[in-house]
Symmetry: none
């Protein structure tokens, strides 16, 4: 089960936080293909946000074919496997790292320091 949690101070829009948490859940294996998501209403109540905010998040993922919805039934993790190809993944990895090094350099943080910090997270993820 996903444990949604919103941070109003992060500056990241609510609907995007919801999207990220669903994708994160998929990437880490917490939810699997075919799993049903909370109903829009239930999640809206749980997160204390408006119905439309949750709807917007689900909708975006549906457009991206990551979720499938059946009116009157519910919303599910798409059965169409999201094929992030190895090539795409490598490209993404590189682009994330570049952004990362730049963002850090702005504050005088070296790649080496980043690596040391990152090692704390090494145990995580699926």
């Amino acid at each position: 089960m996903l444990e949604f949690q919103l941070d109003p101070r992060s500056g990241v829009p609510f609907y995007r936080q919801i999207i990220d948490q669903i994708r994160f859940g998929m990437a880490t294996g917490r939810v699997k293909v075919g799993d049903q998501l909370p109903t829009v209403r239930a999640l809206a109540v749980q997160l204390k946000v408006n119905l439309n905010t949750v709807t917007k998040a689900y909708k975006e993922l549906e457009i991206q074919k990551i979720l499938e919805t059946q009116q009157g039934t519910g919303t599910f993790i798409g059965t169409v496997k999201v094929n992030v190809s190895a090539k795409e993944k490598r490209a993404k990895l590189k682009s994330i790292c570049e952004d990362y090094v730049n963002a850090a350099a702005v504050y005088g943080i070296t790649p080496k320091q980043l690596i040391d910090e990152l090692k704390k997270y090494e145990g995580e993820s699926k």
Copy 2:
């Protein structure tokens, strides 16, 4: 001299890209204390953005005491050494790492993979 370049597709606002590039230039030693920056007008023309966009970027850096504006003369890299305290730096380092671990996880990239990729950048930076 700084070579400003904006990417409209990055999602990062123009004014923030300008700020980052100035800070990046300082962190990597491309510009030094006392150096003069392009005038607001010149930079706006060069980057093909609105005057207000450049103004906003300079203003924010001025507030942070990173830039100094001499009425009628121009804008300069602040002579007051910007002391990012060790504490601030640690906090920033942590927050950057968290952001990126999450961004990566969405694509199924593990912290370990990030570290391996980052090692390529280890020689860089001031």
Copy 3:
């Protein structure tokens, strides 16, 4: 320029009609890569619908990389060419025809009759 027009009686949601008309305009060459679309506000007023309805349409096309938006500047036809590959196009053509034949058969209309009717439209499109 696109001439938007909504039919409230069609049963097709407004935002989808807007999407279809933009895609149609692109397919027929009425709008080209880089063209600016009407502002969300202007189109909302013109079509007498709510701002959010137009926003929703633009947003969906943006997610599909068909449009590009720059906050504070406007919405544009994406420069990333929407590559409907020849293969995809063939598949789409087949699927449309099947749907078509079935929908017609329900009313006792034969493929031959469809062809005769379609010939009236043969001159159209780019």
Copy 4:
């Protein structure tokens, strides 16, 4: 006998898919006047949908006098010949063609291409 089959991804509501398949069966001669249809319950089980969904489909066809329900006996193809008037048929033909020409245009498919593809189906149908 009809072989019902539902496609959850088509976007067409289940009850409408059922309706279409019954009408299609009639148009192609697979079922004839007086034939008995599966009971609501049986069909619901077979298609793994809710009882109400099948009920809704049968109900709509009953209203159109296409089906007749005999209390306690079952549901049958109406004995009243459904006369789709020539006028109605022409109107339907036109509306179907318009819909599909538009749907195709969105993908850059011309009416001519549709015609060519449709010719493959020319032998079919009653």
